[in-house]
């Protein structure tokens, strides 16, 4: 289960226009800004930032030390060395694991987006018999912990002959109830006039969806896609159940590498670091969207 699968659609009302801008106004207005307050606030943030980032920094710092300096505790790794990464590269097929995991996460993100767009379009544009009940199916599903359904899911995957394959990891998560609920909210905000105008122009609902709705919802789709990708990338329980003895996926392969290498800290940190690099790269380039996607979806 990913972090994001739980959201409360019931919370939809909280208004949240561009947090950053509002924040500025608010601070000026509410508190007569004191110098002491600013200093304390900054100190708190600095401490929190150090607490947050230090372990990640330490992971890469240890990975970049020469193997003979693996136990050094100096803040700066010196001399820098890529030997740990080379060792990991030679010991496990981490290159193909990265590619496989990337494909897996991309497949899941795409499928979840597609299914969510279709379902949300159905829910948002029409009022039909059973609409409430079907919506409730989606809302209720995030109250079903994955661990409660995992045995039947495991049996089904094995009956489909997908045990030990990436396909087996992907199939149960192709439709994300969370993605659907989030999409419904975005879709509801979409101006109905545009849909109706397209219809009056003689377009079918299918054509309207792809030529009018989807192009206009690119930001929401991008945010949802990024979030789905990151969640799929970091998925742990299900891949480790399905791919027990396999080096095909990152989480599973790195896990067995960690237990095999025990106290070879340099190599361990290099493998662990590699498992985070793609997500960290996405974060570095799309930082605002990533934070917005996760935080706002949590609230909305």
């Amino acid at each position: 289960m990913s972090f994001v699968t739980v959201t409360t659609p019931a919370l939809a009302a909280a208004p949240r226009p561009s947090a950053a801008r509002r924040q500025g106004e608010e601070d000026v207005a509410v508190a007569s800004r004191s110098r002491v307050g600013t200093v304390v606030g900054r100190l708190v943030l600095v401490l929190l930032a150090v607490f947050s980032v230090f372990p990640v920094y330490w992971m890469f710092a240890t990975a970049l030390r020469a193997p003979e300096n693996a136990l050094d505790q100096t803040l700066l790794p010196w001399p820098l060395s890529l030997e740990n990464f080379a060792y990991v590269w030679d010991t496990i097929p981490i290159g193909s694991m990265l590619v496989n995991t990337f494909v897996m996460a991309l497949t899941l993100a795409t499928a979840q987006l597609l299914i969510a767009v279709l379902a949300a379009y159905g829910f948002a544009v029409w009022n039909f018999v059973g609409r409430k009940l079907l919506m409730f199916l989606f809302i209720g599903s995030w109250l079903v912990p994955f661990q409660v359904t995992m045995i039947p899911n495991y049996v089904l995957v094995s009956q489909m002959g997908l045990l030990g394959t990436i396909g087996g990891v992907v199939v149960p998560q192709l439709a994300g109830a969370f993605a659907v609920l989030l999409m419904v909210q975005h879709m509801r905000a979409f101006p109905r006039e545009l849909i109706e105008a397209a219809h009056l122009d003689g377009r079918s609902s299918w054509a309207t969806l792809w030529s009018v709705v989807v192009p206009n919802m690119r930001p929401a789709l991008a945010a949802l896609g990024i979030m789905a990708f990151i969640s799929a990338w970091n998925e742990y329980l299900w891949p480790t159940l399905i791919m027990r003895q396999s080096d095909a996926l990152l989480q599973v392969g790195v896990r067995s590498f960690l237990s095999a290498e025990g106290n070879n800290w340099g190599a361990t940190m290099a493998a662990a670091g590699l498992a985070c690099v793609p997500v960290l790269l996405i974060y570095i380039f799309l930082q605002r969207y990533v934070v917005d996607a996760f935080v706002r979806s949590g609230l909305k």
Partner: protein, 321 residues
């Protein structure tokens, strides 16, 4: 599957509707296509039934059987024996107690600390704020395998914490092997992942509160403590209820990978929780009936809690519309 959704006639006559998109026109236009919404919703619903609801029903069914997960071995009906057995298991009591400890501790990291931090840092604005927020969100994105690895290294006997403690003449205990310390190490590690997320969610909640309320109250002579209690907290309540619900529902799941990677529930069950127990019953002891019975009990228990929270949500929330 998606092919079925394609609309039958791409070029429909324009003059069909009454022109303006008035309510009667809309109704008229929707009637001949009344199957359409179902087709759009169908893929999602099918997957949901296949992978969530039907398995849920199967878990319920399996909870009355004795089975070892092997396709070839028979399932024997045992009635409610599994439930009786589960309820009597000492592991279950430990796991339940630990789950409560985990959840209570995570309230610190997802709610109490974030509120305090967000309050104290409100006066930092602009680029500095964005910069710090970017940094504190990083742990949330770190994959569990890496999280476990780096914390095991930080807390190792030759690791960074031990080096610092040695300066003060303190010996680093082996935290993952000590039944009294292990659970706290898991709490700190998962707390590390949750804290930044909590801070950003609370900060977003603050940002959504219109400043005029506090301004007005301030003009009326209310102090900052009073403003916080009477205005900020109530307006923040949807955020807080959401974070609480998320903590309760997800705490056990967020801990699962860390427990699996670092302690396997040990030493002597001191770090196990109910979800880890479900995994152990099912995939280590291959006792499907016990795992399912426990799963059903937890599902019902958490369902009740979630329901209470959703009710609370309705009653407590003041929306700033």
């Amino acid at each position: 599957m998606f092919v079925t959704v394609t609309a039958p006639s791409p070029a429909r006559p324009v003059g069909e509707g009454a022109g303006a998109p008035t309510a009667p026109a809309r109704r008229r236009r929707l009637r001949p296509q009344s199957l359409q919404p179902y087709l759009y919703v169908l893929p999602g619903v099918l997957f949901l039934i296949l992978w969530t609801y039907s398995p849920l029903a199967q878990t319920f069914g399996l909870s009355f059987y004795d089975w070892n997960l092997l396709p070839t071995s028979p399932k024997t009906f045992v009635g409610t024996d599994n439930y009786a057995e589960v309820l009597a298991l000492p592991e279950l009591h430990t796991a339940l107690l630990n789950t409560v400890v985990y959840i209570a501790a995570f309230f610190m990291f997802s709610l109490v600390l974030p509120i305090a931090i967000a309050m104290m840092s409100r006066q930092v604005t602009g680029r500095a704020r964005t910069f710090y927020q970017a940094l504190i969100f990083v742990p949330f994105l770190i994959t569990p395998v890496a999280t476990s690895a780096v914390w095991r290294w930080l807390l190792a006997e030759q690791g960074a914490f031990a080096t610092v403690l040695a300066h003060f003449g303190v010996d680093m205990p082996n935290v993952f092997r000590d039944p009294n310390l292990a659970i706290w190490s898991i709490i700190v590690i998962v707390g590390w992942q949750m804290l930044g997320f909590g801070v950003l969610v609370v900060a977003a909640g603050f940002a959504g509160i219109a400043p005029e309320y506090a301004q007005a109250a301030s003009l009326d002579g209310a102090g900052s403590g009073r403003i916080f209690r009477r205005i900020t907290l109530p307006l923040l309540s949807p955020t807080l209820v959401f974070l609480s619900l998320m903590t309760i529902l997800l705490a056990a799941q967020w801990t699962y990978p860390i427990i699996d990677l670092l302690t396997q529930g040990g030493p002597t069950n001191s770090t196990t929780n109910i979800y880890y127990l479900l995994y152990q019953f099912g995939f280590q002891n291959f006792d499907v009936g016990i795992s399912s019975a426990a799963g059903v009990l937890f599902f019902v228990g958490f369902g009740v809690i979630a329901f209470i929270f959703l009710e609370l949500q309705e009653r407590l929330s003041f929306y700033d519309n």
